[in-house]
Amino acid sequence: MVNRVVVGAHYGLRDWLVQRVTAAVMAVYCVPLAVCLLLQPRQGYDAWTGLFSGQLMRTFTLLFLLCLFYHAWIGIRDIVMDYVKPAGVRLVVHVLVILVLLLYAIWSVQILWGF
């Protein structure tokens, strides 16, 4: 056993807090949307594009998706911290996950404003 003085790394609080705040934002977006869709089911391409054609809807959907990606980053990072022990492999996995989530964010903007 390595006999080192154990101290905190002085980070972690912000990620924990961000995960909670983003979860709240996602709940605020999802619950009214789900209720709305259950009460007024939409069918067909036109109905769905109509729903996402307003600027307000697009903006809040993007906010939701950005929260989802940030939330996912913290969750996946926590899993990687538990299961991927070698530092080099962990760094590579972290970078790949960040790049994929950034690509998803760009793709989300293209989808929301691209039709």
Partner: protein, 231 residues
Amino acid sequence: MKFKIYRYNPDTDTAPYMRDYDLDIEAGDKMLLDAILLLKEQDDSLSLRKSCREGVCGSDAMNINGRNGLACITPLSSLSEPVTLRPLPGLPVIRDLIVDMTQFFKQYHSIKPYLINNDPPPETERLQSPAQREHLNGLYECILCGCCTTACPSFWWNPDKFVGPAGLLQAYRFIADTRDHATSERLDNLEDPYRLFRCHTIMNCVDVCPKELNPTGAIGHIKDLMVKRMV
């Protein structure tokens, strides 16, 4: 009553095994420890730690029918047969039901479990109001038996990095103490993705604590104080 007990003697056994025991005993109001001591009369190679036999010393913590607890305050009548006894999970086994608690106490020591106060000591004692003392209830009663920490999957996974519920409950015990002046250093010491934030509120600790304490609640209070300090 039928018992199944984990046996392992590293000097003679190549691998641990479960041994069956049969004991002629009326459950009545007897505790599990009473039965284990009678079994030890039958087979004196059976090893366990015990001392106060009334839930104060925390020596006889073990895994009883899959759930961590103290043998001395677990009524025999509450157990289904065969009563399966194993050592506390997640720690190295020294022999039979005895585990090596070095890692547990290393984490405990890392939170500096003592009052830090650089003011000159008063002539008598450092006084607290009844309201200030009230904050320590539910924290000071911990007997460090290790039931909670060894029931925590986050501790199983990162025993060298995650302080564990017992250590964090004790950390909050000193943070909540008005006679302690090192709150900020204590929070610095815990602000770490492993040391504190590996707790994912699984709450096994609350479920098994034989003193009915709430480590998850204490961890929540520590996080609250960190948020208040930051915003």
